[in-house]
Symmetry: C2
Subunit: 268 residues, 2 copies
């Protein structure tokens, strides 16, 4: 039975902006799939590659004919990776023009070899690229991984640190793990930032003080703060909540409206 077409989806976990390109001053590594079996997996790998700014895909003896419509469907728009993909008869031919080769595997191979994490390797890919060298990453077939002859072609082995009790990793996930670390390397996204809609802005401290004053005067009027010795700590606790929330100017106005509305109702 041949592979069945699957519907591939685009979860909006990050906003696509086609006016921007992943502009990398260094060349990303080449992804080399050795004897991939399912077109879907090739397509999903291509999609994962483009997610991470990788564009060069090579296939060594894919089981099914290439181009492969299942791969195109599963690539879910990563057409440029599929269209540029090159097919080779052997792993040796596929890597002949590259300088540094990494083999993804983790079964212990009874070989003496460097074993790197993807995070460590990503730094080496960049350093190589900055020196004008090219790197390639070998991935074995879905069920069995790379054979030892292919591993022996590599400078180092890559192992994704994962739950040792369940390491059966989907091919596209393995590709994504490598691409993800590559992309994070030079990514400048702040680890944490407050996103504010463009029609407003963070409130000034004066605006925040105005909100405090408004609430506290109404609470004085309503009797909520009538116990004099408790007033300072109650005021501090109430202020602290709004302080922590990092209000926008718009939100200050909303809350002042809320206070006004509640006060009016009470006064009736």
């Amino acid at each position: 039975m041949g592979p069945s077409p699957i519907t591939v989806e685009g979860a909006s976990v990050a906003g696509t902006d086609n006016t921007r390109q992943a502009d990398r001053s260094v060349a990303p590594p080449v992804i080399i799939l050795v004897e991939p079996q399912l077109g879907e997996n090739i397509g999903m790998a291509a999609r994962a590659m483009l997610n991470c700014g990788l564009r060069d895909l090579r296939l060594v003896r894919p089981r099914d004919a290439w181009p492969n419509r299942h791969a195109v469907a599963a690539a879910s728009g990563a057409d440029e990776v599929i269209e540029r993909a090159l097919v080779f008869e052997s792993t040796s031919e596929a890597i002949a023009d590259l300088n540094h080769i990494y083999a993804t595997t983790a079964r212990s191979r009874d070989m003496t070899t460097d074993v790197l994490t993807p995070r460590e390797a990503a730094g080496r890919w960049r350093a190589a690229s900055q020196a004008g060298d090219t790197s390639g990453i070998l991935f074995g077939k879905e069920a069995k991984g790379l054979n030892n002859d292919d591993v022996a072609l590599a400078d180092a082995v890559l192992t994704v640190p994962l739950n040792p009790a369940f390491t059966s990793l989907n091919l596209a996930q393995a590709v994504f793990a490598m691409g993800y670390e590559w992309f994070q390397l030079d990514d400048e996204t702040p680890a944490s930032m407050l996103a504010v809609p463009k029609e407003t802005r963070p409130a000034s401290k004066g605006e925040l003080q105005g909100l405090f004053d408004h609430l506290e005067s109404e609470l004085d009027a309503s009797g909520f703060l009538r116990v004099v010795e408790k007033r300072p700590i109650m005021v501090r606790n109430i202020r602290n909540i709004w302080q922590r929330a990092r209000l926008t100017e718009q939100e200050i106005r909303t809350w002042r409206g809320v206070i006004t509305s509640l006060s009016r109702k009470r006064q009736k």
Copy 2:
């Protein structure tokens, strides 16, 4: 047409060792899929979770009946995640017992909210867990992501830094990105190490010196090092290659055999 079953494969990118368990002193975050459509995607997400030591899956209004055989097939052995999965009628119910909620999204939502990278968030999940709190991560349906009401239930938004020109991320990849960062947080795999088969060991410097001496005496005999003024630099260059290779004791013996064999041939 219902979803077609797909064959899911186990690329050996990391060696499964069922005698080991992911032993984490802190509780991992809960994964919450809101209105997932394809059973395959739920299964692939479960597989990605268990790869990363995450076990608690919650489903809000899955499109198809649950349990779902396509999910089981795609989970590719991550049965414990599928079997433990809980189904809820609403996102509010699914998060009611949790302390901290993160929403995966990146379309600008016109909401004032903290936006974190998965790497930053992973540290917060751990800190929360160490304080005895629980965290959950919301993922929207495949085609559209989370709606704004669900995002508004979250303390912060998570965005995976990716190629801005192609951010359409497979649901299981999005789950994997979060789980991957969670697992890396406390992982102690050395960034780089030399793996040596257990039947041998790294050579001692004395054994390496013995190899150098053997080769150099044969090269003296053969005349290769006959130019006296060039001898030191030639010796240094030849030694340097073996030095760099970090030979094992077994490999020293192999090379000594190679030298003996080549010398014998020449002497005939």
